[in-house]
Each structure stands twice: as C-alpha cells, then as structure tokens.
Symmetry: D2
Subunit: 277 residues, 4 copies
C-alpha cells in the first residue's frame, strides 16, 4: 500500500468535497489527511489530501477530471523525496544548514548538486559528498551565464531549485522553465527592503525588527509569492553587520521551513499568493 | 438563508467525510468552510463546518446519527452571538479589554453580566452599562460563596463564563455544571509557574521569557485544556512588578484570542487538549 | 529627596563618563540607573541617568555644560507624569487601551484632552471623564483645520501628542512646533506598506506576517524615527478585515510600549533613528 | 593597542562608576563600550566594559581592588577567542550548527575537541577536521565514565564546555571544576518540562508553544542560571516528533545566541540568574 498526494484547484462550486470524497471512497482508498480552502476573492477552491491505498494514478485523475469544473488543475503523485538542486554564492549558512539536515536524514529530498557562481563553497559541499559545480560569471553576459547554468540544471531535471543565498538576479528566460519550482530566501521581511543589501537599508531606516522571506521566484525581483516569513527584534546597539549576523539565523530557519512545505507538496500558488496546508 | 455551525467528533473510520458531505449535498446545503482532523493517538475524527442554507436542525442531526459511528457527538446550531458572563477580581486589564471590544462591536458576544468577589471594578463596568454583581466572599466558606455565585450564574444560563482575572480557585462543584464553558487566563506559560503569583516565581527563576495561557477550567488548578498561549522576552533589568506590567499586555491578547475562538465554536476538547479549527 | 532624569547627547570623546559621574559624585547625588551608548557611525555619545538627591537643576546643567563638548544637548528635569493630548479619528482600540490604562493608574501621564476630527468617540472618552474636543474638518482646507487643532493644543501645551489612530496627514506647519513630541501608530511593519490601508496592501501582497510601528512624526509620511515595532503571523485564510482585526491587538500593544518609553524620557532621536535606554 | 574586557561585581555603593571611570581615565585608557546594572534585590552592582589601550592587567586590577568594596570580583583580560570543548550524544543539529559557524569564521572561539558518549557523530565532526573523542559509557558506573571524560577535558583546559545535546546527567563532581563554564541546551522553555523527553511531555500536556533554554549547568538538573530562551507556536496537528523536528531550529538558535554571549564575556551570574550586557 502506497501513499499519494492529491492536489486540486478549480473554480468553487457546491458539492466539490462530496464529489471528490465520493470518488475516493468508491475506489476503496483512505484519506489520511486533507485540507481545503475557498478563496472568496477569486472564487477558487483548493484541496490537498494524503491518500493511502492501491490506485492507478491516471484512472483516478481521469475520474476527477469528469467530476470537477473544466478549469481544474489536478496533481496526483506518489509521496516521495523530491529531487533538488541547490544554488549559492559565497555565504554558507543556508546552504550548510540544508546540507546538515540532509546528512542527518531530516530532509525529505535528494540533493542532486550544488551550483555556484563562485568556487568558495566547494570545500564545504564536498565534505558532504554532494557534486559541486562552479559556473563562473566572469566575462560573461548575464544571458550567457544563465545558459550555462540552465544546461547544467536541465541534466538534473530537479523538482525544485533552492536559492540558498544565490546573489544573482535571474532573468525571465531562466525562471520560465522552472516556474513555481524556484525558491529563494531574501534577507528582509518583504516587501520592506527589496533589492541589494537589506541589512544596510534596515540599519539606515532604524527599524526595530529585521527578518527574512522565503518566496517563489517570478519575473519581478523579490516580488514572487511568499511562502514563509519571520522576524527578530533588534536594537540601536547593532551595526548592520550585527544585524546580518543575527539575521542569518532567521534566514536559514525561514528557508528550511519553506522548503519543507514545498517538498511535501503543501503549497498552492494563487495569483501572487500562496495557500499553505 | 441562515448560517449554521456543525461540529462532529467520533471514532475515525474510512469514508466519514464522504458520508457527511453526501448528506449535506443531498439536502442542498452549502459548506462554506470546513476543517477536519484525525488524531492518530486516540483514533478520533474531528470535523467542523460552516453551512449555509435552510435546514431542520433535528432532521440533519438524526440523519448524521444514522451515518456516523455510535460514539459520535454532533453539535449543530445557528451561528449566533454567545451569551457570556464575565468574572473578575480587582485587576481591570483583561476585563476592560473585553468591555472595550464589546463597546466597539468587535466582540461576537452578548455580555450578560460581570460578577466579582470585590466591588472595585464596579465603576469601570457600569461605564459600559453592563450589570455588575458584587458577591463578597467575606465570612463565607468557599462552598457557600460559590453557591451564591452559581445561583446568580444560573439565572443567566450563559454559553460561556470568562474568568478575566478572577483570582479564586473554583471547586469541582462549581466547574461541573459549566464543564467546557469556563475559560480562564493564567499569567504564565503553563505548565510553568502553576499557582500563586507566577510573575514572582518567574522573577525568582530568572527566566528570559514570560507569558500567558488561556485554558478551559477543569478540576485541577491550571491543568485544564490549553486554548492559546503567547510569550514576550524580558531581561534582567525587570523587577517582578515590571514583568507583571509587561505581562498584562500578553494576558489580555491571549484571552481575547481564546474567547474569539470559543465564541465561534472553533474549539474541540480531546482528553486534556484542544483542537482548534 | 527627589528623582531626576538626566539626558545628554554630544560628540564622543574620551572620559565623558568620568566627567559626568565625577560631577554627580561631587554634588553628593546618587545615580540610581544609567545607560550610555556611542554611535560609531555618527561619533555621538548618548547618556541617560536616573538621579536621586537634592539638586539645583540650573546649577548642575551649567556644571555639565562646562565639562562637555560644545555641541552637547543636556536635559535635566524632575521625574514626573507627562502632560499628554490624545488624538484619534474613529477607531477606538488604541485610544480605549490608553484610557483604560490611565483609569487603572498604570499610565505615567496626565491625559489633558482627546481631540478628534469626528464626534464618534465622544461617548467612550467621556465615560472616563476626559475632555473631548471635536474639531470637524468638513468644508475646511487642511491648513485651516490644522490651525484650529493647533490653537486647541497650544492651550494645553502638552509634553506629548499621541496619535492613537488619527487618520489625517499632518503638514510640516503642524509638526514643527511639536517636533519630537508627536507619536503615531502606523498599522504596518514600516517601511512596508506606507500610506493608506496597509492591511489591504498586506493582503494583496500575500505576506505571512503583519505588524505595527510606533514612530515620531516628522515631515515625511510614515518616515519618522521608529520607536517600537512588532508583528504577528497570519495565514491565507485571513481576509484583510481579519488581518485588521488581529492587527489591532498589535497596534495597541506597540503604541502602549512606545508611549511608556517616551513618558519615561527613555528615547533619544539620532538623525532618523531612535536610541532607547 | 589592544582590547580588554573588564567585568566587576560587588556590593553597590555611591560613586562606583565615578571611581572606575576615574581610574580608567587616569590611565589614559578608552572605554569603548560599557554597561552597568544594580540589582536592587541583592544590592549588587554589575559592570562590564570594553577597553582599548595599553595596560598592565595586574596593575589595573590592583588599582581597582583598592577603590572597590572588599567583596568585589574583578575580571580583566585581553579580548580573545575562547577555547571550547563541545560535547554531544547522537543528535547533530546543535553540534553541526556550531561546526558550520566555526567553519565560516563566524564563531569567536577555538574548538579544541568534540567529546561524545557515542561514536555516531564522528564522521560529521571529522569532516570539519576537529578531533573527536568517543568515551563510551558502556559497562561503566556514572562516576567512572565522568572520570574518563574529566581527564580528557583537563588536557584541553577549555574556557567553556558546550553541551550540544549531550544527553547524560552530570554529577556535582563533574560540574564543580567547571562551575560557570558549562553551557547546556534544554529542549523546553524551562521551568516547564524538566527532565526526559520534554517534547513528549509538551505533546501530552497540549501546549500551544514549545521552546528551548540555554543555561549554565549546576548541580540540579535543568535548574541552572538561564542564559537564553525562545519559543515557537505549534498546533494540534503536530505529533511529538513533529514538535521535536520543529523544535530543533529553536534549540540551535538559542544555543548559538547563548554561546555568543558567553564567548564575549557578556554574562554575569547573580545567584541563580544571569545578567546579560
């Protein structure tokens, strides 16, 4: 007996839960856990279930397609560890945290590779026997560099790309083939302090909290759907470097929480927002 | 068309959601929102739905009773403001916060009365045109005092009794007729600092956080099912009186959140824990 | 024997603490508590002490002026309850919270009046026997309305003006005479969601935290020195009205904390930031 | 020119700051940063300063000894990276976090060794080229095992011993020679859930927050002076294993914050509490 994840989103109408649970019941499957949400603004219905039993994925999907509104998106797949490529630049705290969790068996993922535009994290990554690919951006146009990275990524065909402090802006050309699959950690409580050096910006503005935001990457810098956020309190004694140091703990925890949610298929994107079950 | 709240708990079995949603669908009702949870430890199923439509409460309940396991508890009622009696002693912050919310129309409740073992909060309460009953405990055995309070409460037959810093311990005799209906705010993050003067205890222990806990009252002091908790960070400069002062903000917010949940029928009690939808 | 508050800021140099503590010691005064901070960026020294003893304010200030750098600002005053005018528009949660704290003797202030551009909070305010002044803005230019409010304020000559959800933008003409004395609560974690209806903005952006910011008012909307900030976690189920409702608890606590700090003379403004002892 | 840390605690009396700052000023030294606190309950004065200049440690200490009350404890030392031995059992999250911070140069310490009662963390530790000592407790009385560990520790003579999830109870015999130098992370918000398996206890009690506490180890289990604490919110869906998993993020951050404070000599112990500058 296997476990499956079923995710549905469609326009809302009366009886959707009845129809879905009817089909699952008639197929002698067991819903171990389910969540649903209707977004009244967009009139959309979101449903996620963890199902146990023996099933034919295509058959169930076809059955659901008949019952549900025409605009339904249906995902049904075996519950499994996701394939993931990590990308980073020079800072090691987020990357190292993920590598450690992976090493101790806590990460529900298969880390295929680490890709970086610098070579400085190689020694850390290779300690954990993960392939490290250094793709220098020197003397390359942004598009040319991205092409090289994309070629590499395509070999791995990852379920998710995690930007664990990858400090280069991605072009729409890069994002497009991995839409909804690239997760970034930004070192501020967005939408505050978009762009470069948020800790310096935060220090300059004199805020009393700093934070971090994990989000899906879309075509607009730091504007993608937010998955997780958290903050810590700071005080006037802290320089921007102190903030950066303290903020790293928040960054790695927020990113860790976000990728756990993603790897368990617990996130829906609704326009520019996330629904998280 | 009215709104109803349906709450069900019963032993878990396959197809419960199908059976419930089937009955609701066949009666041409609309589930506006629903949540369910299976507690694997106790093997119990919990379900709450907000339903819109025209229905006969007894008929639906009987229909569900037939479909569901024999141990099912089914609550179905019109969504309405709850009747509430507040009890307090001398401190005004929690009581005043509730009175203010009620005054501004933010509280989904009808405050029937305030009952106190002191007369000192009368002027505050009467500003808001709420009846104030002073039931002195002087020269009375605990049981005799409770009898007087119970007699008064029974006249109001409240849905909930909110202990907004009522500083007397309640006996099982008092609790029994209002089991699951009495909500207390305790000024510590339980189970730390049970009993008298938790801020003094916290100061003595040198903790770096203090907090508050809202819980249902049962027969064991500060041991009832927890509804909501929160904390704030403190430091060595704070005396226990400073902690008390800072803690009041947490107390009133935690109690406010807990009663909102209770007044919306969003809480189940499972053994000594709460499930909150 | 009285208590005094001494606040000094000046350019930093070696021996400042020695010089200050020497003078205090020679005058047979006792420093009950003191804090200092050197901002390395601006090269400025900040010092605050609570002093007990019998002293001649002018004499001590003159003594300090001789010892300290020429750019020193020296404040020395008896520790006393501040005179405060509250301003509000229609929402009662922040105003009511302050009135309640004042009623229970927890506020270190003397509330002189409440001024509003609407009449709707009169009944609440008058319950607490505080004078209520309704200064309608109808059919008035912004400047003309502000003139009427200023005339009223000048009669009271308050130490602080607290904008407890006063929803009108203030012009430089209004701010100037009360520079560093006007405290506002903004319903977002600034600098996110400046301007109108931050909860709607937050809902639209799909953030996972919302918050509040208390700050001194200067000439730029929502850009003044930040005194206190806090946030709460939210989720996709919340409409912007749910956020507003939950956010009110944060707003009132953040404002309450900020005015406590101000009323105890614990805040310095350094360029556009605050230093808080 | 070097940096020094000066820490003083003694019974409070008038003029202490004057006397200390006078001596420092007369020696042509510069106080870069200082903090002081008087605990009114115990009547004790605490002072910490970061001093820059050229000084003779013994001379300054003697000078201070003459000026200060007889019960004064004076610490004066060059600001330097501390020597640290880490101890752990089987869980890697706290240990790994410290090793990562050390690897990236963020830890103000020299990690001399990792000591464990199991061999399972060896591969992780050796990745980072830190000596790993496996001291099995099998077939040994507690005292005999501790003797073997103590002999090892004494070779290193560490400034601090960090128990990064070392799951054995220490006897007074072990604690005594390292009094005030052993820092432990406990996986609950103490004093709640003292002893074994706090996450199971928390799950059973049905709390809505879980947390972690870093504290100095003394002779009473989980009763030592608390350095840092933090919590996260949880809900009814979480099993105790989910809590454990989520709690690990809190544990490692709280421990990280506590050791940063210790390694910078920012902690005083006052009876069973800490004062943190």
């Amino acid at each position: 007996m296997s476990q499956y994840i079923l995710k549905i989103d469609c326009s809302d109408q009366k009886g959707l839960i009845y129809k879905i649970s009817d089909l699952i019941y008639q197929n002698n499957l067991n819903i171990e856990k389910n969540s649903e949400f209707v977004d009244e603004e967009s009139g959309k219905f979101f449903f996620r279930a963890r199902i146990a039993g023996n099933l034919d994925i295509e058959e169930i999907k076809e059955g659901l397609q008949v019952l549900l509104p025409q605009d339904a998106h249906i995902y049904l797949g075996v519950r499994r560890a996701k394939n993931v490529v990590l990308m980073a630049t020079k800072e090691s705290h987020c990357l190292g945290d993920i590598l450690l969790k992976n090493h101790s068996g806590e990460l529900n993922a298969n880390i295929q590779a680490v890709v970086s535009n610098h070579d400085s994290l190689r020694s850390l990554v290779e300690k954990f026997d993960i392939p490290y690919f250094y793709v220098s951006a020197q003397n390359l146009e942004r598009e040319a560099h991205e092409e090289k990275v994309l070629t590499l990524l395509n070999e791995f065909n990852p379920d998710f790309i995690v930007l664990a402090k990858y400090m280069r802006i991605l072009t729409p050309n890069f994002v497009k083939p991995y839409n909804g699959k690239i997760i970034n950690i930004h070192h501020s409580f967005l939408p505050a302090f978009i762009g470069a050096n948020p800790y310096k910006q935060a220090h300059k503005r004199g805020v009393k909290i700093i934070g971090a935001t994990a989000h899906f990457v879309n075509n607009d810098l730091d504007e993608g759907p937010i998955i997780a956020q958290d903050v810590i309190h700071i005080n006037h004694e802290m320089s921007w470097k102190d903030m950066q140091r303290a903020g790293r703990n928040v960054e790695k925890v927020v990113l860790s929480n976000a990728i756990d949610l993603a790897f368990e298929d617990r996130i829906f994107v609704n326009n520019n927002k996330t629904i998280i079950f």
